[in-house]
Symmetry: C2
């Protein structure tokens, strides 16, 4: 039986609670959170504490708190030589206090309150200071996902940047598309099937091959029409810059 | 029985052939294409011609050819006073020759060869020169989709710009994310579940509310880290510009 203690109870750790709780051979021994929390009904039997000094002994401690808080929090833990991992894409493993055995358990996904997600396909990116700790990380990863990889802090930093492009910047494009429609009183619903198909297509076809549209076709007439239509709007600038990328990217053809 | 003739046999019209062919009360009377084409087995009984003057009489002619070719092609049709529609998001209805009754039948979706798509949820955007022609357009639209809307050429132009943002520019972000990973020999597969969830989330939550990440949090430390990581890469510029959008957008909070 592998015993886990969750440190923090935000979007990710509450999800991990749910998914680990269903697994045989894994026991969530305790949940720590600085503030009192309400653990949902099915997990009511899991002990909770808001007292650092009441944290029990376990095989692994999973920190799920904001990036900036990880270093000072890990330093404040009143024990040593135990396996303590964080779950962040943006923080190096070294940010954890060296008094414990350090590691990372990073599920590469965006977690939103009240949205159900299957863990099965979520890549779990692992790192450990000591090779022997990789065994337990691998066991936990494989118990919830079919896609587990061992990556370094450097690789994870790159992954995190790439994730910003395909998640935050993609969503920025959704925002711009939505704003462009709003000005004409057109519903964003019209774009939803297109948005979904664009993301589905990329599951099978590399992005460069999947690219379509006026910039890809070097269709200057349409581009000029669009630029004119966006005149005076703050979105014209982004249209121009992203069209420039698609027309000039040396790798894009 | 509504009789359709398809003019052109590209990605879209080949899909329309497939989907209309299954419907009662709709008959594909003929397919015209400038070059000889291979119509798949199930549709072998549909007459084909590559001779403009052999085009028969029908209730509606659906042009599915490249944007630039629509105007000259519609002018070259050897008949008049019939209902002729194009299927393009980027072309005004007026581009069609005025010798026929003009209209637009625009399914707002990206069509890729060999990718199956359900038409049920694809918004069909309709426009007609004469009110009485809207009836047949509506009938055809509703026979294949649950989402049919009547929109003007001006609105369609705006829609087309917005579609460039949420499809072509989103895919540009996928390209950038993929390129960033390539430099570190990391697989794009790692990002695929995140890409899908980002698109799924937007089906339910407006893009501004769905936004997350360092720019949204005004997390300058992470942004600086990412900018440093991208130093010397051509993607740094796009990171900076899109982060700027997310940090400064007056509507984003």
């Amino acid at each position: 039986m592998t015993e886990i203690i969750l440190l923090g109870y935000g979007n990710l750790n509450s999800r991990l609670l749910d998914v680990f709780h269903r697994k045989e051979n894994i026991r969530i021994k305790q949940v720590f959170n600085r503030n009192q929390i309400k653990i949902p009904g099915p997990f009511r039997d899991i002990p909770f504490t808001d007292d650092l000094h009441a944290i029990e002994k376990a095989d692994i401690y999973i920190i799920g708190i904001s990036d900036d808080a990880i270093a000072p929090f890990s330093e404040s833990l009143p024990f040593k030589n135990r396996l303590v991992v964080h779950t962040s894409g943006g923080v190096s493993m070294d940010a954890l206090s060296s008094k414990n055995r350090r590691g990372v358990f990073y599920p590469l996904q965006t977690f939103t309150k009240n949205r159900h997600l299957d863990f099965d396909t979520i890549p779990i990116c692992l790192e450990s200071e000591y090779e022997e700790d990789m065994e337990i990380l691998n066991f936990l990863g494989r118990s919830i996902s079919g896609h587990v990889e061992s990556i370094t802090s450097g690789q994870r930093a790159t992954l995190h940047v790439a994730a910003v492009f395909v998640n935050n910047f993609v969503n920025a494009c959704y925002q711009m598309g939505s704003a462009v429609l709003e000005n004409e009183n057109l519903s964003f619903d019209l774009l939803k099937p297109l948005i979904l198909e664009t993301a589905m297509k990329i599951q099978e076809i590399p992005p460069k091959e999947a690219q379509t549209g006026p910039a890809k076709r070097k269709d200057k007439k349409t581009i000029e029409k669009h630029m004119k239509l966006l005149q005076g709007s703050s979105y014209q600038k982004y249209y121009e810059i992203l069209t420039g990328f698609l027309m000039n990217d040396p790798d894009s053809n």
